[in-house]
Symmetry: C2
Subunit: 477 residues, 2 copies
């Protein structure tokens, strides 16, 4: 709005004030920015793209701007700031206001900080999880057992999901898997799957695929599963604050809303992974299992090696090539990715009563060996709209060892950053291909990884970073 | 920036990301918003008014946009979120980053919430106060005793400062008073004084006035006293969180930076005032005095009646008329305002060793009686650029009692809001004139207060609110 707008003056609206914009039946809460000059005529309001869409207005329509209604649930947040625990009704009111867009970033930061300064106890974690489930859509698959899979914290290249879905659905379980696109990582499962098939399915198509094949590998955007989660995660990322209670509510609310009855959770542990010690992983696992049980959800947590990327590729298409290699049993398929996928699929087969305890891994491995998983994967992709060939990058350049020695450390965070600078995930073919593993002996000048980019500019950009950061892959003589 | 800008893509800059903009030697940290369409040409960046000014750039200049440097001091904030107390070095780093504009609202909210969830202890309050003083300018008046005055929480109409300054400087104390403009209230001391004289003084003029008259009544904008305070207050207001430690650091950092050696603090106590009980007022007073002493600042806290507005007027010019009436000893001058001013001035005279203990009030009263305070006030105004006649509003309308009875309650917050809706503080003549006091017997239809406005539109606007809010002034039969 203009600084001299009579509404701003009369209502005392200052820059960054929250305002309620009403147009006909629709309303949206927004942050006010003010301008001088004639970009807006007197009495005119400019809107963000989201604002135009949410209000359903067009140029020249009338809108009414006023103070937003009082945010009642903030009194619960204040109570918690002052050291009181909250009940289910309070969490429900908070989450509803969050999902309704009535919390600004400042309110969100206060809520999340207050829930960290005095960590959520078990009851509160359950209340928050329940409120987050209730604030979104909830799917029902009319099946006694619906399995899901989750990995805590992105380890680059850890693209087990497509393989796990192929294996367990090939063996008869129902696994209607919806995944996200990358937010901060070089690839999400949806980004990788998009190089192999269509993932942008509406709910009807998604249901149809699952009915026909027992599973899917779709993007979750068509359904609003725990929408509060995405909002909280954005602020937690800014603050770099992530406490156990919030993490548990985040993971479980999505799974419960997705209609899962059984879930296998992968917990990579490593110095540059999200979970850094075995002990922390165990404690998190125990709490996850306990809270999940309150919602009738059977969870099993498996720790895995988070010291280095899994597989060779990092980036949508590069990971898809790894997935195909494992499914097709190709020579040179990354054995660590295969092993991780079989471990997780095996656990799913066991809790899903398809395999006896201790026999899940072998059953999963057999489904890969004899091609059943690869057959099933192709059928799912066909049902989603056809199998695609993942692209290959036009430009590649090796990052070479500066000296001879042994590979002693890999920095997962920097590896992710390098892949992103090369263009992933927007540039589907971009990313990295790892050429060494921890413990390998290398000679000076030996390629440690290959940077793939779609343009020479992005390749140069990534290399600028690689040459400044000595410890992406550490070699000691 | 444009969503398709190659910098956004290569750097992975998403909407609301923090960015560092560099132009020549200057740099500013900003929040990124993205647009589609052709308002910006490819490679162009749009800036806020503040951005243009801080960078000192013009249309067509080159700017470089990148990720901001890592915010090291947030690791201290995170440590405090997780329950650890902070030392002086940590508070210094935090406050420097805050004043340097490197904390977003999300970071600020986390810091303030973490300092509330586990309240600041005495050491931390001292560390924070010291860091806030150090982050701004600091004045030195070359006088052994420099007095100041502060009121906790705005009570409408409580405009004692001009009277206190006139009295104590007339009696020989040094009181270089700088005040703020209204932020959320219908008038700040600077707004009221601006209807009486020039308040927008640069530091040289301000020093000249104080040398000549022993005091001034200026706006504090020319000096950067505890600049972190204004930033914290903006976020605390959004959260409606205001803890004792923050409040103490806020009040004292401004006074210490202003070069004060002695300060009298008014603590209005009332149901709709900031401090609600005598006990809370006492405890706050004790902590204020204790922390002040650590900085060699002698503080005295006085509780006052915060049950209703002080004086008659609420709004810049209406309060100025009250101030003039008290200073001039006019018949009908508000006795409560006079009493409050004499109490505070008396305390200042006592701690400033001008009056013996117990004799300050009488000395202050005498300076009003015999015209010395009024003479001094005029001299200060002349030194600041001349005495002005406060304006009167073109439009007035009474808010009448809906029934006969006794005035039992006044809502200070709603009274402030009503005055603001009438146009205060931007419309200098706008606001309210209170026509009754608590305990008065009124007849149905008797004016409870008079709304003053500069335009009929604002008068109507205020009345809409007054007629919806039954309990601005409560009358019980």
């Amino acid at each position: 709005m203009r600084t001299d707008c009579h509404v701003c003056r009369a209502e005392g609206l200052a820059p960054r004030a929250q305002v309620l914009i009403t147009a006909g039946e629709r309303r949206v809460q927004a942050t006010l920015f003010q301008i001088e000059g004639n970009l807006l005529a007197p009495g005119e309001v400019g809107l963000s793209e989201a604002g135009w869409k949410l209000l359903g207005v067009e140029e020249g329509d009338q809108a009414h701007v006023s103070h937003p209604p009082n945010l009642e649930s903030m009194s619960s947040v204040r109570r918690r700031i002052y050291g009181n625990r909250l009940d289910g009704v309070s969490f429900e009111a908070i989450v509803n206001d969050v999902v309704g867009g009535r919390y600004t970033d400042v309110h969100l930061a206060a809520f999340l900080t207050a829930s960290s300064a005095m960590p959520l106890d078990e009851d509160e974690t359950i209340h928050l999880t329940r409120a987050m489930v209730a604030a979104g859509d909830r799917l029902d698959w009319k099946a006694p057992i619906v399995v899901d899979k989750h990995s805590i914290g992105g380890l680059p290249g850890n693209r087990t999901t497509p393989i796990v879905v192929a294996i367990v659905t090939a063996l008869g379980l129902v696994m209607p898997k919806t995944s996200s696109r990358a937010i901060t990582s070089p690839a999400g499962t949806a980004d990788t799957m998009e190089t192999l098939t269509a993932v942008d399915l509406d709910l009807a198509t998604l249901r149809h695929v699952v009915e026909a094949e027992g599973g899917c590998l779709a993007w979750g955007g068509a359904v609003r599963l725990s929408p509060a989660d995405d909002i909280f995660i954005r602020i937690e990322r800014v603050l770099d604050v992530d406490t156990e209670g919030q993490l548990i509510a985040s993971v479980l609310s999505k799974k419960i809303a997705a209609g899962s009855t059984h879930v296998v959770i992968d917990v990579p542990v490593g110095a540059t992974a999200k979970v850094r010690t075995d002990e922390a992983g165990r404690s998190l696992g125990e709490r996850l299992v306990k809270v999940a049980a309150k919602f009738g959800l059977t969870a099993v947590c498996l720790q895995s090696d988070g010291a280095q990327p899994v597989g060779r590729g990092v980036g949508p298409a590069l990971e898809a090539h790894d997935v195909l290699a494992v499914l097709q049993g190709a020579p040179g398929a990354p054995s660590d990715l295969r092993h991780s996928a079989c471990t997780l699929a095996g656990a799913a087969l066991e809790i899903g009563k398809i395999a006896k305890p201790g026999e899940g891994y072998a059953a999963a491995n057999a489904a890969l060996e004899d091609g059943r998983a690869w057959q099933k994967f192709q059928r799912i992709c066909m049902a989603q709209g056809g199998l695609r060939v993942p692209p290959k990058a036009a430009h590649m350049r090796p990052l070479r060892a500066s000296r001879a020695g042994r590979v002693v450390h890999m920095n997962n965070r920097k590896i992710s950053r390098l892949a992103k600078l090369a263009g992933a995930p927007d540039a589907k073919a971009a990313g990295l291909r790892m050429e060494v593993r921890l413990g390998d002996e290398v000679f000076a000048g030996q390629p440690l990884l290959m940077v793939h980019a779609e343009t020479l500019g992005e390749l140069a950009y990534a290399f600028d970073y690689a040459e400044q950061s000595v410890d992406i892959i550490q070699v000691e003589s």
